[in-house]
Structure formats: C-alpha cells, structure tokens
C-alpha cells in the first residue's frame, strides 16, 4: 500500500472541549488506504518552529474525509489548533502498521475488548468503527464471512473500557455508544463510572470470559498493566504505542522500542505491537 505526501484541505478544525480538538481533512487516497491504528504525520506550520512533523493517529474515516482527534498540549499541536478550515495541510500518510483485526473475522467469537486510557480513545474509535460496520472482514467476500459476523453489523459485540483521571478527561463515550458498543468507564477519583483503574475493569471482564481480540491504547504505564493482565489470562493484546519520532518513515531509527526480536521502530513496525513481543 502506497504512502502519500499530500496537501490536504482542512474541512474543519474545531475545539471539542478544553484543549481537545477535532480536525477533519480531505484526502481520498488516505481515506481509502487508512487502517485502524495507523497515523498521519503533519507539518503543522510553515516555519522552522516546530521543525519536525507531528504524528497523530487516525480517529475516523468517512468517504474521502479523515478525522483526527488531538489534544493541544505542546507547541506543535497548539499551532495545529490554529489552522483554519479551507487551508492546506502538508500530510504524509497513512503510516505504520494497523491493528490486526481481520484475523478476528474467522474466529468463532467476535467479541472484542478495547481498553483506552485518556487520549488512547483516538485510534480505538476508528477500530470500533470498523468492527461495528459491515466493512469488518472486508478481506473476506461477504458470503464467506461467518454467520456470527454478519449478525455483527446489527449487534455490536465490542466492549469499550475507558479510563481517565476524572470525569472531565473521559472522552468519546457518546461516539462509542452511537456505534452500539458496550461501554464501561473508570475514573481515578470516581467522578464517573467505576472508581479506580480501567485495568481493574479489564481484569473483572476477563475473569468472566475471553474475548476474540484485546486492543489497547493509552499511557505507557497502563499499557504495561494491560500487557501483564493479558499474559496472566493467556491471551494476546494488541497495543498501540507512542514515541518521539523524527521521520515517521522508518528511516531515522529514532522511535525505537525494545522487543524480543530486538529494537523495533514504533513508526514503521508499529505503532501497534503484540503484548507478547514487547519488553517492558
């Protein structure tokens, strides 16, 4: 699949709440090729400040539109938040490996668990979108899709666990609900949902039954716990990692992560890695 560098038109760039933003841009080729878990690398401004592109995960795709969900925290994302609709944005994408969810289409169990911490909802929503839509298992002709999967279009078997510090940082819960996902929330202070860690919710669910797939994105410390829980339950989790990137193309070897197969590149070999291969 070809990766492209495009000057994409910004359709909208709106504050969602506080410093959380939604940006939608138009690129037929990126929209067509993008897989859940992949990211785009954006030159946010024209000058030297910041110098490098900013990698941002793909939040959703619809038609020729690609949607990003980001938090304006550093200089790069702050400049991005100032860009206006109608302007052109220099974007490279789609980059990296996606979540491997097609494999699940052949499994008997179609239930998937998505575990998000904070902004980790961003790439997981795109995954939920694909899991919920008939495009799931698009690798297989419809007639070959298991009966359970055909039913899936009508009944969403995805369980989404979202964790955050407080109620204010719980993101995207309405969007996941609209897709028909089963939602469970956890906050550190108990201001919304379960009081405690989202990983505690995961433990409880896994005690009851094993899912077809376990996918997670969030802070490093959370992913480490998800990885441990997956190992205890003898299942594999697909984890989306974050790391400083210089090129995003697999050339500079800057975004190295330690795996059983040696250092791998978060930008190219990842950002999605199997919990079984990562060394924490």
């Amino acid at each position: 699949m070809k990766t492209v560098q495009v000057q994409a038109k910004i359709i909208s760039n709106k504050r969602f709440k506080e410093n959380y933003w939604h940006l939608e841009f138009e690129s037929a080729i990126i929209a067509k090729n993008a897989l859940p878990g992949q990211f785009v690398n954006i030159k946010v401004g024209k000058g030297l400040e910041p110098l490098l592109r900013r990698p941002i995960s793909i939040h959703a795709v619809g038609g020729v539109k690609v949607k990003l969900f980001y938090q304006a925290v550093g200089i790069g994302t702050q400049i991005l938040s100032q860009r206006k609709s109608g302007e052109l944005l220099d974007i490279i994408g789609a980059l990296g490996s996606g979540f491997n969810y097609h494999r699940m289409a052949q499994a008997k169990k179609v239930e998937n668990i998505l575990v998000a911490g904070g902004m980790g909802v961003a790439p997981l929503f795109f995954l939920a979108q694909r899991l919920a839509s008939p495009r799931m298992g698009s690798a297989l002709p419809r007639a070959f899709r298991p009966r359970s999967l055909r039913r899936c279009a009508a009944r969403n078997d995805t369980i989404v666990l979202i964790g955050a510090k407080t109620k204010k940082q719980v993101l995207c819960e309405q969007e996941f609900k609209k897709l028909g996902c089963t939602l469970k929330l956890a906050t550190d202070d108990g201001s919304l949902g379960f009081k405690g860690k989202v990983t505690d919710l995961l433990k409880d669910i896994l005690d009851q039954h094993k899912p077809a797939g376990l996918f997670s994105c969030g802070p490093h410390s959370m992913l480490k716990v998800v990885s441990e829980i997956a190992r205890e339950n003898k299942i594999n989790a697909q984890l989306s990692l974050e790391e400083h990137m210089a090129c995003g193309l697999g050339a500079c070897l800057g975004c190295a992560v330690s795996t059983k197969g040696g250092y791998k590149r978060v930008c190219k070999d990842g950002p999605v890695f199997s919990s079984e291969e990562l060394i924490w």
């Binding site: 030159k43 070897l253 800057g254």
Partner: protein, 311 residues
C-alpha cells in the same frame, strides 16, 4: 560530459561522476527504500547509506531523538544490521536504482574494523564510493578519530592502500580546527571530505530534571547548525584542494547554495528529509534555475566563488 540541459549540474569527486551534486546524508535516508513512495530516487546525485559496522548494532536507549529550536538532537547509536546483512538485504534494492551508492562505514572498537569493512566493500561493483564515518558522536568515546589530525591521517592512509574506490572522509565539527583535520585526510589520500557531522548537544527536561535523550547526550542537526557548517566548509576550502561535500541544516535551494559558494563541490541533505521527503529533488530543480537565472553554465563554476563584502 556536458548534458543536453543548458545548465550543467554534473560534478566529479575522485573517480566518481555524479549527474548532479545533491546527495542524501547518512542516517537520514535509511537505505533509500523507506523513501520510494515519495519520489523518483533515480533522480538523486547519490545515496549515502545509514552507517554500517562489521557486526550488527542495536543502538542506544530510547528516547533517541528530541526536537530543539530549529533543530533536533539524535543519539541513535549507529543501529544497523551489520555488513553481511546489509549486503544481503539492503544493497540489492540500492543496486536496482542504478545511481551511485556511497556506503558509510564505522568502527565500534578498533580502527581495524575499517580495514575489514573496506576489504569487503571493495569487491562489490554496486558500491560506488565509501564514506569513512570517523565522526559519529554517539559511540560513547572519549575521543573520535576525526578529532585528531594524526589519527585521521593514519586511518585514511591505511584504508587508502586497500581500495581504488572513491574515499570520502566525514568529519566532526567538534574540533579546534576543521581545516587541519581536512588537510590530514587529504594528505592521506582521501578523495573528498564530507562536513559536517552533528555538533555535540544536550537538552534537559526541567520539570523531571532528566536529560531528554536516553543516552543523555547526542548530535545536533538541522537549520540551527547551518552557520557553523557553512563556516567550516569555507575554512576547509581555503586550506585543501580535494572536493568538499557540504552539509548541515540544508533545508532548501538557498541554503544549499550557501554551501557551494562557501566552497562545496556537492551537498548532502540530512534532517530536511524527515520533514519533506522530496526536498532533495526540489533542490536539484532549484539549483538548475539559479544557474539559468545567473547565466552560469556549470555548477562547478560556483564552488568557492565568495566575493568580499565591498565588491
């Protein structure tokens, strides 16, 4: 050979003839395959590979890069698959491009590793030139070979005896006199010098009070170092006769031109590849335009043509 185009970008470095003087710097372009989706690679003057060592190297601890004002620090630590895997897995793609391939090499422990590497590369027709990276700041060494004129002379002399291929010596800017080191490389038989490698640097997260790089210190690149690089090219040009490949923060045609005027015969684009993968091809077009606009027939007529301020 003068091409059909009105402006001639072709240059020579030792026995290496390039159709244009724009290369991609070692470590910033992987093994070229990473960039194939974005550009016609065959348009490049030459490709300089990521530095290869005798044995595979895992590289340094993360984080390995950090952004700084108009630049970036890196402490990759020469991660590479080793010479045998490079020849087996990476070189075939480069060979297919049919453009000059310059293989960058380094030693981890002993300078003898250079000898073994050069012996192996000398046999390969698809290798057009060898770049001796004696200036990588990320190997946790107290002193680099290129920080000492005598060490530079000794290493280049030893390698020179082993190959007739074009030899390029890449120099560190972290020295008292770049001209002195460049002269040592020339006297030892190097066909060209490439300068500059990265400047030693460090950045600190004041909230956590920790270094921003896993290896604590690294090499600074990008437009922030360009004035340092231009000055060093100019200093070396005034002292040596062999061609200079200039690099350090080249972002566009104008910054590339600074290097030619200061004394470079060719240039390398480094950090800019990360930001705009197509920038090298844009610079090639821009150079042609500049020559046409200024009625200069050959690019080589621009090298070192710096005028005094009062002219």
């Amino acid at each position: 050979m003068v091409g059909p185009a009105k402006s001639n970008l072709s240059i020579s470095i030792g026995n290496l003839n390039l159709k244009n003087p724009v290369m991609v710097a070692s470590g910033t372009f992987g093994y070229a395959e990473e960039f194939k989706d974005f550009m016609d690679l065959t348009k490049l003057g030459a490709i300089v590979t990521k530095t290869i060592t005798l044995k595979a190297r895992h590289g340094n601890l993360a984080p390995r890069t950090c952004e700084t004002p108009a630049g970036m620090l890196n402490s990759i630590g020469l991660e590479n698959p080793g010479i045998d895997k490079f020849i087996q897995d990476k070189l075939p793609f480069l060979k297919k491009l049919a453009i000059p391939v310059i293989v960058s090499i380094a030693a981890e422990e002993s300078p003898d590793e250079f000898i073994a590497l050069v012996k192996q590369l000398d046999k390969l027709d698809e290798v057009s030139a060898i770049e001796l990276n004696i200036s990588c700041p990320n190997l946790q060494k107290d002193k680099l070979i290129s920080q000492d004129a005598q060490d530079t002379f000794a290493l280049v002399s030893a390698v020179r005896k082993l190959t007739r291929k074009c030899l390029i010596t890449k120099l560190s800017p972290n020295v008292i006199s770049i001209a002195e080191i460049a002269l040592a490389a020339q006297n030892a038989g190097s066909d060209a010098v490439a300068l500059i490698n990265t400047l030693g640097g460090m950045s600190i997260d004041v909230h956590k009070r920790i270094p921003r790089l896993g290896a604590w210190v690294g090499g600074l690149s990008g437009p922030a170092i360009r004035p340092v690089a231009v000055k060093m090219v100019w200093e070396a040009y005034n002292k040596i006769k062999i061609p200079i490949i200039g690099m350090g923060g080249i972002m566009d045609t104008e910054s590339a031109l600074e290097f030619f005027i200061a004394g470079a015969t060719a240039i390398s684009v480094g950090t800019a590849n990360f930001i705009n993968p197509r920038v090298s091809l844009e610079i090639i077009c821009g150079l042609k335009q500049y020559l046409a606009d200024n009625s200069i027939q050959n690019l080589s007529n621009l090298t070192g043509r710096l005028k005094a301020c009062k002219d």
